[in-house]
């Protein structure tokens, strides 16, 4: 697959497919304060963000509501013109060459469909094929895979407006991949979905990721998405990047803790092992809390050596809490 060079020949530098440098987006918001008077207020939706995403990476982009995630994605697709800073996607300035970039990216908005409301899925896909000039054989292969992996078979003849949210989302995700985009933006692709639809979407995205050809930027509220799909996570708050690293790093920064749940052969007083704190005792079961950034293995070995261990499990921290703590830190600065 010696095609990376081909793509980079179009102006991308190095292996960064997405590159943001000091990007800002300011909205003027007007509020009526009287019959004729309006008050102008600036909303800095994105306030000086810089990051790079390498080819083939799957990156999570998280933050509370109104943090600026969607605004960032809109600038990365060319929908919005940045107020400042520079944006490059596959070597292209999105807002200047939006139509040219469109062929190379796929976009899924969880909140609203990119498909044609009144057309059956199959017709929508056919239109996508012609618009993007996808070669018929390649289109068929991609469509077959999407139909297979996303269970779209029974839905192809149904007009988009009659699909359930979960079905529509699967339909949208397929549509975004039919032209083999280099970059896939997913803005809250699991929002409002039931557990089964969420699982299908995740499993599908895991397959896309495994193929390694697509760079994915994923915005979500569901941290399980991030845990299952992203090796790297960026946290945005009030338009600023507050964390960029792996999940473990996020735990370390957030000083979060994992919990080792151990079942002993009999009831014991609260055990005392270095590097952990016993936070709860219930009959023969005890809960030992330890830093999320530390490995569980030495702790398990220590406990097993000293006490009659029957069973154990490790509970990951809820990332919501981690992020809340991160925000808390920033708020107190």
């Amino acid at each position: 697959m010696g095609r990376t060079e081909v793509r980079d020949g179009t102006g991308g530098t190095g292996d960064a497919v997405i590159r943001l440098d000091g990007v800002c987006k300011v909205f003027d918001v007007y509020r009526r304060t009287g019959l004729l008077r309006r008050e102008r207020r600036e909303v800095r939706a994105v306030d000086g963000i810089s990051f790079e995403v390498a080819r083939g990476e799957t990156v999570g982009y998280i933050g509370p509501n109104g943090a600026g995630k969607s605004t960032t994605i809109k600038m990365l697709t060319g929908i919005l013109v940045p107020s400042g800073g520079s944006v490059r996607v596959a070597g292209i300035d999105p807002s200047r060459e939006r139509t040219r970039l469109a062929r190379r990216i796929g976009v899924v908005f969880g909140q609203r469909t990119t498909l044609w409301w009144d057309l059956p899925l199959r017709d929508s896909y056919d239109l996508v094929r012609r618009m993007y000039r996808v070669e018929p054989a390649r289109f068929r292969a991609n469509l077959d895979r999407c139909v297979d992996l996303l269970d779209l078979g029974p839905l192809l003849e149904v007009p988009v407006r009659q699909l359930s949210l979960g079905q529509r989302m699967r339909g949208d995700i397929a549509a975004a991949l039919l032209h083999d985009p280099e970059v896939l933006y997913l803005d809250e692709p699991t929002i409002g979905l039931d557990v089964i639809s969420k699982a299908k979407v995740r499993q599908f995205l895991a397959e896309v990721k495994a193929a390694g050809a697509t760079t994915v930027l994923l915005t979500t509220h569901d941290l399980t998405d991030i845990e299952q799909l992203c090796e790297r996570v960026m946290v945005i708050d009030h338009g600023r990047l507050v964390h960029d690293g792996d999940l473990a790093g996020l735990h370390a920064v957030g000083a979060s803790e994992r919990v080792l749940v151990v079942d002993f052969a009999r009831e014991l007083p609260a055990v005392d092992v270095p590097g952990a704190r016993t936070v709860r005792v219930e009959g023969p079961r005890q809960w030992l809390s330890f830093p999320a950034s530390a490995s569980a293995a030495p702790l398990v070995a220590e406990v097993a050596a000293r006490y009659p261990l029957v069973d154990l499990s490790v509970r990951e921290p809820a990332i919501e809490e981690v992020i809340a703590r991160l925000y808390g830190d920033r708020a107190s600065l």
């Binding site: 697959m1 095609r3 081909v6 793509r7 179009t10 909205f27 509501n65 109104g66 969607s70 809109k74 697709t77 060319g78 929908i79 919005l80 013109v81 939006r98 139509t99 040219r100 469109a102 062929r103 190379r104 990216i105 976009v107 908005f109 909140q111 609203r112 469909t113 990119t114 498909l115 044609w116 009144d118 057309l119 017709d123 056919d126 239109l127 012609r130 618009m131 993007y132 070669e135 054989a137 390649r138 068929r140 292969a141 991609n142 077959d144 895979r145 297979d148 992996l149 991949l177 032209h179 083999d180 280099e182 397959e207 896309v208 495994a210 193929a211 050809a213 697509t214």
Partner: protein, 298 residues
């Protein structure tokens, strides 16, 4: 291409291998052709999907034609009481009616979905159009294309044909050529007005009423002789929103009627130039509007 032959049975080993290299950018001179092609694609899709419900399609088209036929009946009724309207005979008025109706009918057929732009801006669905490799203008114009709008064009064409059969015109090569030119220019002028209206909707989400008052109002205006309106209105339609160039002015050359504002005769020939100018203005306004689009917050 290498994976095109992967058998359907069994899970493919590597879904979504990288695609073919992205083709180099098309040269700028190809872009209008690309836009037209995309327009054709979208229009074809909507037409096929409308034809799938053949009965409803036939009924809609028929209903459309019947409604517009009633529309001309209103004009004919006026002539039940008088033989002249502002100095124009029924056949001459029918000529104005037919040319105006064909011009706006063609514009409406081609760009009729433009007034839905405000709605798309307000609910944020324009975003979906902005991420496709097809000009937004083409997508908005072709959205929900309805072939039944041909009903209006055909009705106006019939009225025009009837008027030509009744009129006593001293045709010259110039006026023979002028007839199609004025129809095309008229359609272009109305299209430009549609586009200008839409461009404002980027900023002022619900300007579609204003746009409609210029387009459909302009149609209502130009299907009657200019002599029945106040001079100020005719001046406005000549110098401000140049609807007089749709038919009033060029028609004086064919019908031999007096120039409504007493302007020099050459003014009656310049409809194509005026059409080109308003189209250019509309294009600039559209670009500016698109540039100022700010999507919607969640």
């Amino acid at each position: 291409m290498a994976d095109a032959g992967v058998p359907r049975a069994g899970r493919p080993v590597r879904p979504f291998p990288p695609g073919e290299p992205v083709p180099p950018e098309e040269p700028a001179w190809r872009r209008p052709a690309d836009g037209l092609r995309a327009y054709g694609l979208i229009v074809g899709m909507w037409t096929r999907s409308a034809l799938a419900y053949r009965l409803s399609f036939v009924m809609m088209t028929f209903g459309n034609g019947a409604l517009t036929a009633l529309d001309f009946a209103a004009v004919a009724i006026i002539f039940g009481h008088t033989t002249r309207l502002g100095g124009f005979s029924l056949a001459q008025t029918a000529f104005l009616y037919g040319t105006s109706g064909m011009a706006i009918g063609l514009a409406d057929l081609l760009l009729g979905s433009m007034d839905g732009l405000g709605q798309r801006v307000r609910d944020g669905t324009l975003d979906a159009m902005l991420v496709r490799p097809v000009p937004v203008f083409v997508q908005v114009a072709a959205d929900r294309f309805a072939l039944r709008r041909l009903g209006r064009v055909s009705q106006a064409a019939l009225v025009l044909a009837w008027s030509l059969s009744r009129l006593d015109v001293a045709w010259t090569p110039g006026t023979v050529l002028l007839l199609p030119v004025m129809l095309v220019s008229g359609a272009a002028i109305f299209s430009a007005v549609f586009t200008l209206g839409a461009a404002f909707q980027f900023r002022f989400g619900d300007a579609s009423e204003v746009q409609n008052s210029f387009t459909y109002g302009g149609n209502a205006l130009t299907q009657y002789p200019p002599t029945v309106f106040a001079k100020e209105l005719v001046r406005g339609a000549t110098f401000v929103v140049p609807l007089a160039f749709v038919n009033w002015l060029p028609a004086t050359l064919i019908l031999g009627t007096p120039q409504p504002l007493g302007l020099p005769r050459w003014v009656d020939w310049v409809s194509p130039l005026v059409a080109a100018a308003v189209c250019a203005a509309a294009a600039v306004a559209w670009q500016a509007g698109l540039r100022s689009y700010r999507s919607t917050g969640s």
